[in-house]
Amino acid sequence: MPREADAESNNDTSKVNPSPSPSPPPPPLPPRRKLSSEGPIQVATARPTPTTAVTPIDISTLSFPDGSRGTFSTNAAQGVSTPAASGYATPVRDPIGAGDFSDSMSVMSLAPTLPPPGDLASLVAGDLTRKSRAWNLLRSQAETAEPFESIELGAPGELAGFEREFDEIPDDASDDTRLAIWKSKMKHYMILSSAGKPIYSRHGDLSLVNGYMGVVQTIISFYEGANNPLLGFTAGNARFVIAIKGPLYFVAVSKLGESDTQIRSQLEALYMQILSTLTLPTLKNIFVNRPSTDLRKPLEGTESLLSSLADSFTKGSPSTLLSGLECLRLRKSHRHALNNIFLKNRSEKLLYGLIVAGGKLVSVIRPRKHSLHPSDLQLIFNMLFESGGIKSGGGESWIPLCLPAFNNSGYLYMYVSFFDGEPAEGPSAEGDQQRPVSPGNDGDGDGDGDGDDRNEDEDEDEIAIILISPDKESFYDLKEMRDKLASQLTKTGHLALIRAAARHGRPQVQAIAPGAQISHFLYKSRANVQFCMSALASPPPSHHHHHHPPDHTPPAATATAAAAAADQLLTRRRLMSLYHELHATMHAKHAHLRVLHAAGADAASLAWITPVAELYCVAGPHVSRAAMAQGAARVAQWARREEERLFIIGGGVF
């Protein structure tokens, strides 16, 4: 299957890869332009002309608007041309997707009323002829404050006890105590078979939750039997959401106020993880042959992956919320050169190649015919960066895994190696570093110095090379590719560049839009299925940032450090709760909202959606709508200007 791409790759490579790395790179992906007729998405060159033809389906597919997207802008589940991912795959994604899609539809249905529809940033840039209703709303808002949809935000304090959310339930306590602790958790994820066999629970060992699972199974089965599947219900302050996937029941219990759609997409991700371990045919076989099978054995070892996924949702995952991924901000010319080095060293056995730094995508190469799906990348990133196994192992890893959105019926083989340790470069290798790489001549301003957040919860400078092949015997080929690639990246200085960019962290709002009163934002480029955000380090509502995270804490103050960590956890969750609420409102069925302002006791927020972008901002409670709108506009302007640094547009195609 993926091999087929090779035939085509030759003539492509010559076009995509016109010049060797160090020389000033050619304009981005020039050859792609001719292809734009193939697909609805136009080539994003220096100044992409956005289009409303971004179908909702594309939104769930990581594809690059380089024309190649036309080859898979089918249903998300069967997006890749793998015959194996036949009809059976579709139910995998659809229940979720459909919700999202129709939501997106409702937003985008306004598009026809727009003149040549403008994207967020270009509107902000002041092209009068291309103002959207959103912009008009926003502008009028700045003056009158009326046309905005407003909502009240949930009261703070709902997160009491959240800092203990991830603590283990002690084995030695009495059953009553353990049950009380279990009940106090704000988020549960449970997986059971339709026969009622427990498979997974995030909290509590299965003996503790067995009874509950039984109850859940009875309830779900009752509705199933009545041909009226139960999707969710509310009990007290807990929302139960159920997703049924063939022989498996997925249940989430949330007291965090997420919407059903949001929760269901989290359950979907857990299901994807199970498929990734087993593949769909295997899962089917197991249950066809023995419906009462205990799935825990075949899933052995997957539990920790499920838990790290679950915890990232509970902590709040922008990537899951926005179904997009985050890239490392790099100069366009640097990224281009990187791609070229990557392509030049490509092994014949390669399907996908990724360079990832601290959970952010740095570079991708892929066959023209195959794109990468955010949900698959999420599984990979979770395995490599959230759960400890691979990283701590040292050395190189060779991992069989199924990427269900790519092909849920078979395994691929993933070579992973992390660059270890400190290089020779100093810690803040900014700008003035030695420059074996030709300085970026991509015409955009320097823009450096706008980030200062070096210590978020991820290890920002963990850099990994990930090489994926369908051939299980290709380890040594890929290792050889990696070794060549690594030495060239080191020699040309690109590794140092990546490291510096990773350390640089996410930008502070103040650096992007000095004086703006916004304290945090998420910006999603819908066309690129990617997002960017400002530094998480500081709490959104009360204080404005610019303080460094406490990385100079004296060693003795471990208690303080723990408190700070708990504080940060809470801050992040509060922020993400705000975003979830905004997002849910904007994406609610039949919501035709383009702009939403929300005020709460401890924060104000603003959401703004156009056909090509979504922007969510948070500010302190007393920040006026006008000030927020203005801040949002400036962030959007920045994102627009930096688009080709913030997002991977095209990637390396072979």
Binding site: G301, G393, E396, W398, I399, P400, E473, K479, E480, K484
Partner: protein, 233 residues
């Protein structure tokens, strides 16, 4: 051949595979050997990890290319890929867990059936620190197994007898304390027959694709030439 043109000490690569039930401490042994480190709560290996480490012998240097495989059942079918051309294998069990020795015996049998005839196999009972012999002399006091919090469930005698019968090297180790870990690898290095080394790859791990006998990758034939059946002990 591969060794020609080398500096003072001849150096050769030895491909070594670790096999054994999940959680017996394979990765921990490797971590101890390669980094002299130990992690209390090591996560299970997914797939397999590849590491290298040199071992200096008086007359030559052995560069181990180590495949640390996952013990979980679901990865078992991939194992042949790793042991097919291995010159050495560490079959590990947890001496506080009898079932893990049974699993180890299965691996030994499989290796004897399927792996290179000359493969040097070492049976390793790990987690010695949990027994009364601790990281002491490793001597077996089987009688003490029942009392005083000794977690040993597999006697030295039993495992050793089995190892002798099968012609395996045998060690009891603790990845946690480091006891006997280097010894295992050194013993293996010493036991690799010279003939087998002759055919070993050159010292660089990234094999040259131009090489004609491409045994690491293509694995068409089950064997590289070299050692006849040779008992390591």
């Amino acid at each position: 051949m591969a060794d020609s043109g080398n500096a003072p000490k001849p150096s050769s690569s030895v491909k070594l595979v670790l096999l054994g039930e999940a959680a017996v401490g394979k990765s921990s042994l490797v971590l101890r050997f390669v980094n002299n480190d130990f992690q209390e709560n090591k996560e299970p290996t997914i797939g397999a990890a590849f590491l290298t480490q040199k071992c200096n012998l008086p007359t030559r240097t052995i560069k181990f290319e180590i495949w640390d495989t996952a013990g979980q059942e679901r990865f078992a079918s991939l194992a042949p890929m790793y042991y097919r051309n291995a010159q050495a294998a560490l079959v590990v069990y947890d001496l506080t867990k009898p079932t893990s020795l049974i699993k180890a015996k299965h691996w030994v049998a499989e290796l004897q059936r399927q792996a290179s005839p000359g493969i040097v196999i070492s049976l390793v009972g790990n987690k010695l620190d949990l027994t009364n012999d601790g990281a002491g002399d490793g001597g077996g006091e089987e009688g003490a197994a029942e009392d005083s919090g000794d977690a040993r469930k597999v006697t030295t005698e039993e495992a050793k007898t089995y190892a002798e019968d099968e012609g395996l090297l045998f060690f009891e180790t603790s990845a946690k304390t480091g006891y006997n870990v280097t010894e295992v690898f050194t013993a293996i290095a010493n036991s690799i027959p010279e003939t087998s080394l002759k055919t070993a790859r050159g010292p660089n791990a990234s094999h040259a694709p131009s090489r004609t006998e491409e045994q690491r990758v293509n694995l068409n034939g089950p064997r590289d030439s070299g050692a006849k059946d040779s008992c390591a002990c």
